[in-house]
């Protein structure tokens, strides 16, 4: 192995060493329970509230607050189920897109079993929703609209601000956005977006796995998903993951300081990867927006004719390069990515999709190495593929 190059930052990001440094005291001497009034408890409480302020500041939260959870999956489950159960007397209709993360889609499926009615908007070839279709889908009994800010597979940046405006003008529904992928890679501002609820996941912006948050605007009616001792102002019970929270607070601080610089670099690397692959290989097709201004910085997704995605990932791995196929979270399954199917790809082409995603710690040299190895690997696999008539 010549080199180690991680290009799977939409799956998870490395823990920033500065984040770990901030966490360590809370795994060593400051292990107190923030719910206790004694010294150990108070020192933990202060750290938790300090982290909350940072996360709130990062998303420009002015009207409402941020509640800590165990990750993006919990936040998404909570947003949907919590709003659904708290508002079911008002209505049982929810609108989502077919390219949401599985934790939205499978929550929707479960809610359907409980008697809720879900409308899935269509998306175009690049993954964008249609605002007119959204407007027409709104009903008297619509209680919630959930549209992601940035798609995790193909990087589509949905027009959340415009969608939210329409929903606010034409209905009483709440608006939720899953911002797991956007945070840390581009600026995210809940005031500008106007959303009522927003999902955040720490491990997508250099905090550890297992910590996340849900932003809730003042006045939103939502049931807890985790009932109990009354932590998080009674909205999300459970002894707080103090070290994780402190880590996410530090990560939020770093995002505020570095996101504009990071974004610029991610855009450059993204462009180089797309151009490099296109010029070096035939019969490769970019999935997701071709206009990079409408695409999540750092995200690249290609369908490679004649090869299967997982074997490409595994072969690249032998060269020390890590990327993904389809959605990382379902990569042990044999179903093609629901996102690629939703944008109209044939399954056999969807199976050959590769996601390359850059992050804070990637360099131009990483991209050089990737562009050197990638065509070689594809050609090697095409050579043994019965579907490749080179």
């Amino acid at each position: 192995m010549n080199r180690y190059v991680y290009l799977d930052n939409n799956s998870t990001t490395p823990v920033d060493p500065r984040v770990l440094d901030a966490m360590l005291p809370f795994l060593k001497e400051k292990w107190g329970n923030p719910n206790n009034v004694h010294r150990k408890g108070r020192e933990a409480r202060e750290a938790v509230e300090d982290a909350r302020e940072k996360v709130e500041k990062m998303i420009n939260c002015k009207d409402g607050g941020v509640y800590f959870t165990s990750g993006g999956t919990e936040s998404n489950n909570w947003a949907l189920k919590g709003v659904a159960f708290a508002n079911k007397d008002k209505g049982k209709h929810i609108i989502a897109t077919p390219i949401e993360h599985k934790c939205i889609l499978n929550t929707c499926k479960w809610l359907e079993k409980q008697g809720f009615d879900i409308t899935y908007l269509k998306v175009d070839k690049e993954g964008f929703i249609n605002l007119e279709e959204l407007e027409n889908a709104l009903r008297k009994d619509t209680i919630l609209v959930s549209i992601m800010l940035a798609n995790n597979e193909i990087g589509t940046l949905e027009p959340v601000k415009e969608a939210c405006q329409i929903v606010k003008e034409k209905s009483d529904a709440y608006f939720h956005t899953d911002a797991c992928q956007a945070i840390g890679k581009t600026e995210v501002d809940v005031e500008e977006l106007g959303v009522d609820l927003m999902t955040i996941s720490g491990h997508k912006f250099y905090a550890p796995k297992g910590i996340g948050a849900l932003y809730i605007r003042n006045g939103v009616k939502i049931d807890p998903l985790l009932h109990g001792g009354g932590q998080e102002k009674g909205r999300r019970s459970g002894t707080e993951n103090v070290a994780g929270i402190v880590g996410m607070g530090k990560a939020a601080e770093l995002v505020m300081e570095e996101v504009s610089k990071d974004k610029e670099k991610l855009r450059r690397l993204q462009k180089r990867i797309i151009e490099g692959i296109t010029s070096r290989l035939e019969k490769v097709y970019l999935n997701g927006p071709s206009d990079l201004n409408k695409r999540l910085p750092g995200n690249v997704n290609f369908s490679i004719e004649g090869v299967e995605g997982e074997s490409t990932v595994m072969m690249l791995d032998e060269y020390g390069i890590e990327v993904s196929t389809g959605s990382a979270c379902s990569s042990t399954k044999l179903v093609p990515s629901h996102v690629l199917i939703a944008i109209g790809l044939r399954p056999e082409i969807a199976h050959g999709s590769i996601r390359i995603s850059a992050g804070r710690f990637n360099t131009d040299e990483d991209v050089d190495y990737f562009l050197e190895v990638f065509p070689e690997v594809v050609n090697k696999l095409r050579e043994i593929s019965p579907l490749w008539k080179g």
Binding site: G306, S311, E318, H351, P386
Partner: protein
């Protein structure tokens, strides 16, 4: 049953020993479906020794995951040198065992490879009758 790929599987995926096509094959089949994500095409050469028919060579081309490629390769490995009658008894379990285990969701790859071998034999025997 392991949840991750074994080193042995990865080695067979990385350096498959039996890729390609046999020019003057005695049988040639394709199993699987690109829609499902796996296609394996096999070619086989048989040699006679007395009344024994021995599989002299098997080569494959596979579109699919690492487990599909490794399964194809290990199948060729296991079948080579066996008589047709012996080869008929080859089970997917023996492939799994040879690979040192396989994640449950990947077991179907070994089944597909074994299906390929059975079809090779069928075709070989059909051709023989026609001669």
């Amino acid at each position: 049953m392991s949840d991750v790929y074994t080193e042995k599987l990865i080695e067979h995926f990385r350096n498959p020993r039996n890729t390609g096509e046999i020019e003057d094959a005695d049988a040639k089949v394709t199993v699987g479906n690109p829609v499902c994500g796996d296609v394996m095409s096999f070619t086989m050469k048989v040699r006679k020794e007395g009344d024994k028919e021995i599989i002299e060579d098997i080569k494959f081309k596979t579109f699919g995951c690492a487990a599909a490629i490794a399964s194809s390769d290990i199948l060729a490995e296991l079948a080579k040198g066996k008589t047709i009658e012996e080869a008929k008894k080859l089970s997917y379990e023996s492939l799994v065992k040879e690979l040192g285990g396989l994640p449950p969701v990947k077991v179907h790859c070994t089944k597909m490879a074994v299906e390929g071998l059975q079809k090779l034999i069928e075709e070989y025997e059909k051709k023989k009758k026609q001669q």
